[in-house]
Amino acid sequence: MKKKRALITGISELAPHKTAYGQKTLALLAESSRLAIEDAGLQKRDIDGLLVTPPSEDSAFMWPAQVAEYLQIKPVFLNMVELGGASAAGAVARAAMLVEAGICDNCLCLSGGVWDSQVFNTLEGKMSVMSQAEIDFELPYLPMGFNTGYALIARRHMHLYGTTPEQMAKIAVDQRFNALHNPLALFNQAPLTIEEVLQSLLITDPLHLLEIVRPCSGAAAAVVSRASSDMNTHRSVSVLGWGEACTHNSIVYSEEITISPVKESAQRAFAMAECGPADIDLVSLYDCYPITVLITLEDAGFCAKGEGGSFVARHNLTYQGDFPCNTHGGQLSMGQPSFAGGMSHIIEAVRQLRGEAGIRQVPQNRLAFVNGNGGVMSTESSLVLGRTEHV
C-alpha cells in the first residue's frame, strides 16, 4: 500500500438528544470542535481548513464564515459540504485532498446541530428538503418523505431477490445489541428482537417504525492533518482511499433503484487504497434504514447483488461477530443528528482502528470501510481508513 499523508488525528462526538434541549447549532459545533482539536493534540490556531455540513435551523447563507467567526478561526480554505448523509464522509475526503495537496495542515470537519422534532411534519418542512421537480411531481401524491423512497427500494429488492422482512429487521437487531454497550446511543436501554421490529407500527410498507432512523440533536467532528515526520502518529488513522458518486437526486429517476452509486464510490475508494472488501476488518455503513445497509453491502462488494438478505442472516453483525458492522449501534440506535451528516460512522471506525472502542473493541482492527449516503441512495461517499502504523 502506498503511504498516504492524510491522517485523522482528532475526533469528538457529543451525546445525541431527542430535542434541541435549549442548545443552538453553533454551540454544539463549538463544543465538538474544542474536543476534536484537543483530541488531536492541537491548538485552535493550528486549524487552517474548515469543512462544515449544512445547518438545519440557522440560515445557510455564508455558513462556513458564520462557523469560522463563532469559533474565531481563520481558515485558508472553507466550504460547506452538502451531500446529505454523505456530507461527513465527503468532508473527510475533501480534507484529505486539501492536506495531500499541501493547501492545509489541519482541516476541521464539522457536522451536526439541533433538531426540532416537528421539522418534517409540516408541508413547508417537507418542501424545504425537496427539489422543485419533487414538489411538482411527487409531493402531490403524499409520499412519507425519505421513508417512502427507501420503502420503494426495499419492496423491489424483495420482489427481485426474495429478500425477507426478517432479514432486514436483523440488521436493526444486531445494531441494537451494539448500542446497548454504547453510553452515547439514544436507544441503548433494551435489546430488540426481530419479532419486535416486525410487530412495530407499519409506516410505509414494508418499513416498520423500528426500522426508521430517529432525527435528533448532536454534533461530531474530525480533524484531518497532513502527516509530518515530527508527528506522534500512534493514535492517528490514515485516510487510505475515498470515492464519491451520484446518479440521481430523486429515487424516481434512478435507472434501477436496487443498484446504488455505492458501486462506483466503493470501487474508487478500494482502488485508491489498493485493497478490497476481503481485506476489511469492520464496516461503518450509513443506516437510515436497514435496506440502506443491505444495498451498501452488495454494491460495495461484500456480497453479490441480491444476496444481501442471506448475507446479513448468515453473519453476526455485532462487535462480537464475524462481520462487525456499525459497532456503535448505527444511526438506527444512535440517532441521526441534524441534517444527517453521517459523522458518527466515521468516529466509530476511528475508535475501533485506534483500539479505543472499549467493550465494543473488535479484535481485528487494521482496516475499516466507511460509507456515507445522501438522499435516497443518491449521493455516496466511501472511505477506506486504516491504522497508521499499518501503512
Partner: protein, 130 residues
C-alpha cells in the same frame, strides 16, 4: 408550479390526458417536464400524448401520514410507462393486497387533495402483458 413546461403538463391533465416531452434527436420520451432534453441538452422537445399504459415498478402502502389531510392507507407507486419513462404516482381502484410489482396499469386522472393528478388503475385481464 411555475415553469412553462410544468404548466403545459398540468393543462393537458385538466383535459384528462397525460402528455410527455419527446426529443427528436434522442428519439426518447422524457419525464419530468423540462426545458432541455436530459439526453442531449437540446431544447427541441415536442409534446406527445401518452398512451397511459404501464407497469408497476415498485410500490409502498402508506399507513401513516404526517400531513393529516389524507386517507390512509393508499398505494404510492413508481410506474414505468410503455413510452419508457418512470413517474411517481398512486395506484387506485386496487386493494393493498392485490398490488404487485410488474402489474399492468393504465392512467386515469383523479383529484388528490383537490389537485388533478395522473394515477393508475389495474388493467383488466391480460391486456397489458405485451
Amino acid at each position: 408550479m411555475c415553469d412553462d413546461q410544468t404548466r403545459i403538463y398540468y393543462q393537458h391533465l385538466k383535459q384528462g390526458e397525460l402528455w410527455l416531452q419527446y426529443c427528436l434527436n434522442c428519439q426518447e420520451h422524457t419525464f419530468y417536464p423540462r426545458s432541455h432534453c436530459p439526453g442531449c441538452l437540446d431544447q427541441q422537445l415536442e409534446w406527445r400524448k401518452s398512451q397511459g399504459q404501464g407497469r408497476v415498478y415498485s410500490y409502498s402502502i402508506i399507513h401513516v401520514q404526517s400531513l393529516a389531510d389524507d386517507d390512509v392507507p393508499y398505494i404510492y407507486s413508481l410506474v414505468t410507462l410503455d413510452e419508457g419513462v418512470r413517474l411517481a404516482t398512486r395506484i387506485v381502484d386496487c386493494s393493498p393486497e392485490a398490488v404487485h410489482v410488474d402489474m399492468g396499469v393504465e392512467m386515469v386522472v383523479r383529484a388528490i387533495n383537490g389537485q388533478l393528478m395522473p394515477v393508475f388503475k389495474p388493467v383488466a385481464g391480460l391486456k397489458s402483458q405485451a
